[in-house]
């Protein structure tokens, strides 16, 4: 047994030494790490995020890389949001692959690796997790996904626009769901509204009938669903079957939700990162076409965010090379970002990173049509005039 353990330790040491410093020294490849949920109940996210990121890597490399330096994507699995797995993955990325920039996802692992990023000067960009608690966790942590605050304010402003007053809400018991719930509890009363029901469901709940029955009898003007894939699909399907007729508003509607809910999703309005390949956005159309060609399905905004995240990092590396920095670390990439915080967005137009590290992007308002397809209605402001 001692021999086995000794050999195992030696094997890891050898592999670590063989893979790490040697390639880093070559300087021909800039490696980008990705901490994604590749396994477990949330593997859907990891799959689409990694696909989006890899398409960006392939595109940049096909165009000759960044001044000849190719990009490489190295994925680590945080098992659907496990902090320890996130820390382990981050350590591998840093110590074996000498990574200086990481695409991260989910709030718990992002919060767990933030101190490491700070200490090791690792640039991180999050395009998936949207808990507001991530703001300020590390000076090198940025978000190219609008956070919970923006989506929630946006959809509640839409509710106000409709003239609704009484809100019934249902939220999922995850970091994201809880964060949205907290913001809604603070913001809706500020808008003069009342909360007449507040139900919660576990993530991945197959049965939320009890909660939906309570929502139906609450007398609300509308239902705000702070839930995500696949629960959003389940909610839309069952709420329709329960005969709920008041409008349903939410903050996520993925292809999986569409498959699950079908026509029962009709009328659902939601705010989200606006990824819709319109005619006036050829970059988005190209990404959309490539994704569909490769995987035979439409990319959602998670795929788009990670696609875009790679381009943000690539732009920063290009700026570093221009500044004569051959192997930039996270601190240098961050400094370069703050010098010019505006980046081209695959969603159309530009996105600007704010002081809190969050990219101010256009938040889209969508409505699900009778055929279960979503339809872009308009951009919606996430701030209250005068505040």
């Amino acid at each position: 047994m001692r021999r086995f353990l000794g050999l195992t330790f030696c094997a890891i040491s050898f592999a670590a030494m063989a893979v790490g410093p040697a390639r880093a020294a070559e300087g021909e490849t800039f490696k980008i790490g990705a901490l994604l949920g590749m396994t477990g109940a949330s593997s859907y996210y990891g799959t689409v995020m990694s696909r989006g990121a890899q398409i960006a890597i392939d595109e940049i490399n096909a165009d000759g890389g960044i001044d000849g330096t190719k990009l490489e994507l190295l994925i680590e699995d945080h098992k659907g949001g496990n902090a320890q797995a996130g820390v382990a993955g981050m350590n591998r990325l840093i110590n074996i692959h000498d990574i200086k920039a990481v695409l991260t996802s989910f709030s718990p692992p992002t919060l767990a690796v933030a101190p490491i990023a700070t200490e090791k000067k690792i640039f991180m960009i999050n395009g998936g997790g949207f808990s507001a608690k991530m703001i300020g966790a590390s000076p090198y942590l940025f978000h190219n996904r609008s956070l919970a605050t923006d989506f929630t304010r946006g959809i509640l402003l839409r509710a106000k626009e409709h003239g609704f007053e009484k809100m019934a809400m249902i939220s999922v018991k995850t970091d994201a769901g809880e964060n949205v719930r907290e913001i809604a509890h603070q913001f809706w009363p500020e808008l003069g509204g009342a909360i007449v029901a507040d139900e919660s469901v576990a993530y991945g709940a197959a049965n939320m009938d009890t909660q939906i029955a309570k929502l139906r009898t609450s007398g609300a003007d509308f239902i705000f669903a702070a839930i995500f894939r696949p629960d959003a699909g389940t909610f839309l399907k069952r709420s329709k079957e329960f005969g709920i007729t008041v409008p349903r508003l939410g903050i996520e509607y993925t292809p999986d939700d569409q498959k699950l809910a079908g026509e029962a999703a009709a009328g659902f309005e939601f705010t989200t990162d606006y990824f819709h390949p319109t005619d006036d956005n050829p970059w988005a159309q190209a990404f959309y076409g490539k994704y569909k060609e490769l995987f035979n399905e439409e990319p959602d905004y998670y795929a788009a965010n990670y696609y875009e995240g790679v381009y943000v990092i690539a732009e920063l590396v290009r700026r570093a090379f221009e500044a004569g920095i051959d192997n930039p670390d996270g601190a240098q990439l961050t400094e370069l970002l703050w010098k010019e915080p505006t980046f081209k967005s695959v969603y159309g137009g530009d996105m600007v990173f704010q002081e809190n590290g969050v990219a101010q992007k256009r938040v889209g308002l969508f409505e699900v049509q009778a055929d279960s397809e979503k339809k872009f209605l308009k951009f919606i402001e996430t701030t209250v005039p005068g505040k």
């Binding site: 670590a16 590749m38 902090a83 110590n95 767990a112 994201a176």
Partner: protein, 565 residues
Amino acid sequence: MEYLVHIAVMACLYVILATSFNLLIGFAGLFALSHAAFYAFGAYTTAILSTQAGVPFPIPLLLGVVLTAGVGAIVALPALRIGGHYLVIVTLALQVIVLQVLINGGEFTGGPDGIAGIEKISLFGWRLSSPHTFLPMAIFGAVVCTAIAWRIARSPFGRALKAMRENEAAAQAIGKNIVLMKVIVFAFSAGLAAVAGSLLARYISYVGVDSFSIEETIYILAMVILGGTGNLWGSVVGAIILVLLPELLKFLALPPDIADKMRQVIYGLILIGILLVRPQGILGEHSTAPALARRARKDAHADEEIGTVNGTEPGEVTVSARGLAKSFGGIVAVRNFDIDLRAGTITGLIGPNGAGKTTAFNMLTGFLQPNAGTIELRGRSLVGLKPHQIVREGVARSFQDLKLFTKMTVIENVLVALPDQSGDSITSVFFRPGTVRREEEENFNRAVEILEFVNLADKAHELAENLSYAEEKLLVIARLLATGAEVLLFDEPLSGLDPATLEEIFPIVRRLARSGKTICIIEHNLDVIRGLCDVAVYLDEGHALATGTPDELVSDPELARRYFG
């Protein structure tokens, strides 16, 4: 290389978790699936005290250990009444409840977001902020916790835990307080897990519910099973392997979007492969006795006669029961039962199946409380006492189905039954180690003598499960003798034995009686009763119909008709 150091830190934390879990599952036989909840208690206590009250190291760790040990002791309460699958369900429920409380704890627990920004440990101005600086702390924690678990496991208390794991009734029948033992082992197991939780919180500066799910409990359980239950070194090995293996698999080149799923499949297949080759785990369970054998001095009790009861007059009544009654619902098992057991006398209890003989034994030894009647040992009432208290008073029993501790060696079966062991007290285990060690050596010699008395000394280091049927019967006698009780109640000790073996055992029982022991035997074989017993009591329909010499009862035509039909 920091990555390797990080793996080493995680291995240390899982060593703590696996060894503490093994105490509960491998040694005590309490299949409680809430270890990750205890782990979480330690982590969250440190996180909350550190971030919300600014309490410095090591106070949150110590409070976490105390709090979690308390919770563990409370969890032990349902385990007193239930076991097996029911305990699994109850502890799973605890695991779920703890997670739900943490998720719904709002700002206090951080809810689903968890708690970030936990202050790193600072010692003498040295901040343990990197894997390199934290590793010595992790190693120290693992060594201390493993040493505590090892001390428990290798002590007489640990031996008693194994006896309880093997058979709770038999453990009670040799004087072990299984209620106290369960509470203590739950508390220690939980408290040690809390150490790992506290260290994790300090190491990664973050705690979240995802780290303490039921999957985490199963992961730790896999370490225990892989290494071998009932062996702490096995848990160390299991923890190291299960921490290292996924890291090794990371070096397998696989397509990126399915790589981690494939690695999990391979990981599972490797574990299945190992357990197919070593179903008992990589390291099997081992006995504590060989180490004792090396230290023991053969002359410790050389001139003390086995089984001698001092200050007893032959024929003196030791146990007297009057008017005993027991019914189960509408079924009357025993009614108005009187019996006197005398020192130096072998009393036979005979009667047809269902006559109430074993029920009478169960009442005399506290396994059942009588509905009516009195039981006295030399004038002291035994009614209301627990089985282990009655053994300590001086009345011990064997079981019809033997209830040997089959996964323990022969000498361990005897050692564990010896009375008044300092090592049965957890405080003595830690605070009077010298006394415990000296007693252990003496007890080993005593156990050897008892085994020599029943002619089993040459089998001392065999597992009890490997004995022949006749040897098992002898071990039952030896274990009963080891309790030091002056009244020995044997439930069919000689059934199923051939005449030659009976001739070997008869002298042993007679010698015990001559030494002053009070002996009562339930037996169906009338030849045994006639050959061995001085007095016989005929029991039928829960009532003593006749008392006399065996020959008198056997020659009574009415009793013969009732017995043989």
